[in-house]
Symmetry: C2
Subunit: 167 residues, 2 copies
Amino acid sequence: MAERRRRKRLNDRLSMLRSIVPKISKMDRTSILGDTIDYMKELLERIGKLQEEEMEEGTNQINLLGISKELKPNEVMVRNSPKFDVERRDLDTRISICCATKPGLLLSTVNTLEALGLEIHQCVISSFNDFSMQASCSEAEEQRNCMNLEEIKQALFRNAGYGGKCL
Amino acid sequence: MAERRRRKRLNDRLSMLRSIVPKISKMDRTSILGDTIDYMKELLERIGKLQEEEMEEGTNQINLLGISKELKPNEVMVRNSPKFDVERRDLDTRISICCATKPGLLLSTVNTLEALGLEIHQCVISSFNDFSMQASCSEAEEQRNCMNLEEIKQALFRNAGYGGKCL
DNA sequence: TGCGACACGTGAGCC
DNA sequence: TGGCTCACGTGTCGC
C-alpha cells in the first residue's frame, strides 16, 4: 500500500540518477550508486583543476601587465635594485628590464635595441613606478655569433643612466 | 543470509553518498538520493560556468596581445585596413594602433608619441604579423586642451607611412 | 542446482 | 493514534 508508493519513489530517484550519470557499468542498483560516487568525485576533481587554472590565469594577467611584484619575501631588499637580463632562446632573444624610470627612457631603450640589431616582436612595458620592460626580439644569426649577452646587457645598463658595471 | 550481505553493500554505498554530498536535508533514503541529484546538477552547472569563463579569459589574453582578429564575418574585408584610435579617459589617453609593420616603426612611433607630449605608462606591443600597439599614456593638462584627438591620430597615421587622410 | 538481484508483504520503531 | 521509514525473510526470475 503505502510501502508500495515509497518503493516506487525510491526507484524513481534511482532511475533519475542512472539517467544523469554517464558511466553506467551495470544496471545493478549497487553499481548505479557506485558509479554515481565515482562520477561525483570526478566532477569535484575537474572543478578543482578549473579553479586552479583560473587562479593561474589571474596571475598570468598580472605578469603580462609587467606589474609582477616578485613577492618572495627574502628578495624584498633586492626589489628596487636595477635588473637587466638578456637571454637567448632557440628562436628569440628575451630582454627583461626593471629599473628606475626617467623621461625618455622608453624611447632611448627602443633606440638602443634597434641599434644593437634587435628587432622587437612582442613587448610589454610598464612605467608607473619603476620602468619595466619585457621584450621578445629576433636577432640576425651573424649578430648572435659576434655579440655576447653581456655586451647587450651593458649597453642597456648604460642607456638607463647607470654608469659602472652591471650586477 | 546472502540477501543480508547484499543489503549491507547497498546501505554502505548509500552512506558513502551521504558522506560526500554536503547538503543533506534528511537522513531519509529518498532524500539522500534527491539531494545527490540536486548536488550533481549544481556541480555540472559550476563546471559549465568555469569553462565559459576559461574561454573568455582566453580571448581576453588574445586581446591583450593585440592580436584581436575581430572575427565578425562581415568585417573580414576591413580587417587588414590600418586602425589608429586615440581616446581620452579621465586619467589617461589610450592609443590603439594596428597596421602593416615595417622596420623601425616601433621606434618612430614611440618617438612620435614623445614628441606629442604623450608619456607612455603601460604598453603592449606585437609585431609578428601586423604591427599592433596598445598604450596607456599620460598627457599634460594644457596639452589636452590645445591638441585634439584627430591631430594625434593624423600624426601617428603619417608616421606609419600612410600619406593621406585617416579613415 | 545454485547464485544474484529484485519486489513484495510484514513487523518494529518513531514522531 | 495513523503515517512514515527501515530491515527482514521470502518468492520469483534469469543465468
